[in-house]
């Protein structure tokens, strides 16, 4: 069979099924409409939702009229935020939990295999589950909407504000449901899948927005918060609106390389890319359950996109100072009028550049775990290559080594990191300071030892050896170093902490950036420890790359010996 024939046969008969976008005709969607919208169960939920939303509506409205003596228009606005929070609980929390739990339950019960065998397109299956599993939650949100619509209408909230807010509310819901679907697909245990998806949403709204305070502004666009902040003045009584608008001017806006995007557009763009990427992951898994979550090319482009948005959001905020944590804390403490003498602390760029490196390295590791083949995948790939009468893998095939792609990502990561460091340090806030070009080399070294080294270990020696390395090289030195640090052994701690690749970006930042307030012994041992362990890392990398090469050859040879393959790689 030729490749083309195989592909044609792999596609479901397009005439037999409605297009994937016709969600109402999707069998999986209709199945869940049937099972999750049974009048008996649904009526109780509807009653509860009506009760709670009605309570919030009348409570806020009446209290504003009676006790706050607001006029009718202002009073009508007051229930909006409470209703939005309630709707968020239903759609974001309950909906995502339902998607993750429902998906794992299907897998647990074994009925998921039936859907695997159904000759619908993978995309139709993903969409069917995405909108089918949380259908009850959509209905419950719909039930609460009359109260919101009344408040929006009688509260004279501009239509474009209402559309922005609820548009983002919906896309954020879809995005969180996709995380639930992914968790349900990847995590085998129902309870863990549920907890993982809940945990992701919790992190998105609590921990991850804090990263914005350290220069990683992009992460707040995976929530509805930026759009909510933009719409906020229109959701509160009009006499407070002016103050809120003043406050809003202090908040960082959605600047992307100084292009002034409306918050809603940039949030849609950010969430859209994540939605499409997660859809691709699920599509790949439905198409072939052994597939990597992402293809190598997609992962690389996605990594590049993350670098682009991290930089694009952060760099325009340097000039105004809005990117610096101390400025954010000042605002938080209520000092809205920033004094003219405000100046970022000298340690701030060091920490911010270090954080940027850690996040870049972490994303590199995540991509690596998604696209690196194990020995079995590789061997299987060789056998298939032989079966199809080909001589080698395509560079983007799952069984092909991910090394060239990791190299590309590490290069992009180092470059992005260097640009961030340079723009930050050489800004008007640190007159006379500069980041040496050598810093690019140091950053590339960190990416090579921590990123490529781990990749060579993972692909060459397998997940077991990599897991041990994570524990004994990645985690243990940080734990021991931290304990010793608190005991006063700061030099030993500095040397120990430098072993861990997680700390390497912080060290690189500390070595390359001006740093004034650390003790003399630390200032002396920090660069030494950094360069020493990076040298060790480079030697290890060379060994691991040699091991990877050997491993690739051994697998090719093994397949050859089985008479299944024509040797041609390496």
């Amino acid at each position: 069979m030729t490749g083309t024939q195989a592909n044609a046969a792999n596609e479901p008969d397009p005439k037999a099924w409605p297009p994937a976008w016709k969600i109402w005709a999707n069998p999986i969607f209709r199945r869940y409409c049937r099972s999750r919208l049974r009048p008996r169960g649904l009526s109780v939920w509807i009653l509860l939702s009506l009760l709670i939303s009605g309570f919030l509506f009348f409570m806020f409205r009446q209290a504003s009229l009676r006790f706050e003596r607001m006029d009718l228009v202002d009073a009508e606005r007051t229930p909006l935020i409470a209703l939005l929070i309630f709707q968020g609980i239903i759609l974001f929390l309950l909906g995502t939990g339902q998607v993750a739990g429902g998906m794992t339950a299907e897998s647990d019960e074994g009925v998921l295999d039936y859907q695997r065998l159904a000759p619908m397109s993978p995309l139709a299956k993903v969409l069917g589950y995405l909108f089918g599993l949380p259908i009850r939650e959509y209905v419950l949100v719909l039930v609460t909407m009359p109260f919101s619509l009344w408040s929006l209408w009688r509260g004279e909230v501009p239509l474009n504000i209402a559309l922005q807010l609820y548009g983002i509310f919906f896309t954020a819901g879809v995005m969180y449901h996709l995380t639930g679907l992914l968790a349900g697909t990847v995590v085998k245990n129902k309870r863990w899948a549920f907890l993982a998806s809940m945990g992701v949403i919790f992190l998105l709204y609590t921990v991850i927005p804090q990263m914005a305070k350290f220069g990683l502004v992009y992460f707040k666009y995976v929530t509805i918060m930026p759009v909510f902040e933009e719409c906020y003045p229109h959701l509160i009584p009009r006499d407070a609106q002016a103050a809120a608008e003043t406050l809003q001017r202090i908040l960082p806006s959605a600047k992307f390389f100084n292009l002034d995007f409306p918050q809603v557009v940039f949030t849609l763009l950010s969430q859209g890319v994540l939605i499409v990427t997660m859809m691709v992951m699920l599509w790949r898994r439905w198409r072939r359950s052994e597939s990597h979550l992402l293809g190598k090319a997609w992962a690389t482009v996605f990594f590049g996109w993350v670098q682009l948005v991290l930089l694009g959001n952060a760099l325009p905020l340097i000039e105004s100072g809005a990117l610096f944590p101390s400025r954010g804390f000042n605002s938080f403490l209520g000092r809205f009028r920033i004094r003219g003498s405000w100046q970022p602390e000298p340690w701030e760029p060091v920490i911010m550049v270090g954080c940027y490196g850690v996040v870049t390295l972490a994303i590199l590791w995540v991509m690596m775990l998604m696209v690196s083949p194990n020995a079995e995948t590789r061997l299987r790939g060789w056998r298939r290559v032989r079966k199809l009468g080909q001589r080698r893998f395509s560079l983007i095939a799952d069984p092909a080594t991910a090394f060239p792609w990791m190299l590309l990502m590490a290069g992009m990561g180092s470059a992005g990191w260097f640009v961030f460091a340079r723009e930050l340090v050489e800004s008007r806030w640190f007159a006379g300071q500069e980041v040496p070009t050598m810093a690019l080399g140091a950053f590339a070294l960190v990416m090579a030892t921590g990123g490529l080294g781990f990749h060579a270990l993972l692909e060459g020696r397998g997940p077991r050896a990599s897991g041990m390395a994570v524990i004994f090289i990645g985690v243990v030195p940080i734990m021991v170093g931290s304990v010793l640090g608190t005991m006063g052994f700061s030099v030993v701690a500095t040397w120990l902490l430098a072993i861990s690749p997680v700390m390497a970006p912080m060290y690189a930042s500390g070595v390359m950036m001006p740093m004034t307030d650390a003790g003399a012994d630390i200032m002396r041992s920090l660069p030494r420890a950094f360069w020493f362990w990076q040298l060790v890392g480079i030697i290890m990398l060379a060994r691991l790359m040699h091991g990877l090469r050997q491993s690739l050859r051994t697998i090719a040879k093994q397949a050859d010996e089985e008479g299944k393959v024509l040797p041609d790689e390496s």
């Binding site: 069979m1 046969a9 792999n10 069998p27 019960e109 295999d113």
Partner: protein, 318 residues
């Protein structure tokens, strides 16, 4: 690849590994169209792994598998369209009613509009004698009823190839008989039915061809008699009751070739017999010809079971 003159199912050099454990080891099979083919073996023989590969639910370590001419690894969707798979311990969703479950699967296979699906669902329910359970919750069905429901689901899209993993487990004798008749009718209508069991006699009754697997390998394949012969166990246990003259039967049996271990138990005489179906028919003819007045003559406690018992015991000894 288009369907040619080859078998409905072709398996070549199939191997399935779970880590270091080899579940299926270099299995090759060719199953012709329009037969009920039985795959039998003790637990852990590799039946379910083989079925999962055939059903496109698992990638083999290596090997080539085609179903009605479609390579299950390269033309997965095409293979899925013409195949029906019923897993072992077939699960059903707890939140659907019987008709809803079938209607949903009819929908996923694009079997016409709601009215057409309704007719097809009724046909399949009728086929497995579950029409009276149409409105019942799937979770309320007994094990046997669940098996039959999943069989009905498997039949919905009129598959050319049916892959049924232990379909008779949990069925009462009457349902087993009905299952046998249903499968034989499907084969008569042109479908190929591949069915597994760890009860060889059960398969011997319903299958035209058999394959015995153990520890991932094929021990024997062919007709029931060929399997018996190849495995060197052509013994069968026969049981005769007489209108009169049991002593005469005992004497006659003692002098007959191939008969051994004769026992008398009340009105019955049981004995072992070494021979195939034809030899068994000749034995009965000779018995009647010798003037013995035979009331009943039946094969009992099939030595097929013995074959599997010995195979399983062999595994344990290893």
């Amino acid at each position: 690849m288009s369907a040619g003159t080859e078998g409905a199912i072709e398996i070549r050099d199939l191997r399935v590994d779970y880590g270091d454990f080899v579940a299926v080891n270099e299995v090759s099979l060719s199953i012709p169209r329009g037969v009920v083919y039985g795959l039998v073996g003790p637990n852990g023989a590799g039946k379910t792994s083989t079925f999962k590969v055939l059903a496109t639910l698992m990638e083999p370590t290596y090997g080539e598998v085609t179903v009605a001419g479609h390579d299950v690894l390269e033309a997965t969707s095409a293979a899925r369209r013409i195949m029906g798979y019923m897993p072992d311990m077939a699960p059903v969703p707890s939140d659907l009613k019987v008709w809803e479950f079938l209607d949903f699967h009819a929908d996923t296979h694009a079997i016409g509009d709601a009215a057409t699906r309704q007719v097809r669902v009724a046909e399949c329910l009728d086929k497995v004698h579950l029409s009276d359970k149409r409105g019942a919750w799937c979770r309320a069905l007994s094990r046997g009823q669940t098996q039959r429901l999943v069989l009905a689901k498997t039949l919905l899209h009129r598959p050319q190839v049916l892959i049924l993993d232990e379909p008779a487990s949990g069925l009462d004798p009457l349902s087993r008989r009905e299952l046998r008749m249903t499968l034989q009718q499907l084969a008569k209508d042109g479908a190929t039915v591949l069915v597994s069991s760890h009860i060889l006699s059960e398969l011997a009754e319903m299958c035209s061809l058999l394959c015995v697997m153990n520890q991932g390998r094929i021990l024997s394949s062919g007709t029931a008699d060929e399997v018996r012969r190849e495995l060197g166990r052509s013994d069968r246990m026969l049981c005769v009751t007489m209108v009169e003259n049991q002593d005469g039967l005992l004497t006659w049996l003692a002098a007959h070739d191939g008969v051994h271990d004769v026992e008398r138990d009340g009105t019955e005489v049981r004995f072992g017999f070494k021979g195939d179906n034809s030899g068994q028919a000749d034995l009965l003819a000779d018995m009647v010809g010798a003037g013995l007045r035979v009331k009943t003559f039946e094969e009992r406690g099939s030595s097929f079971e013995q074959i599997l018992v010995e195979v399983a015991e062999g595994n344990r000894e290893q």
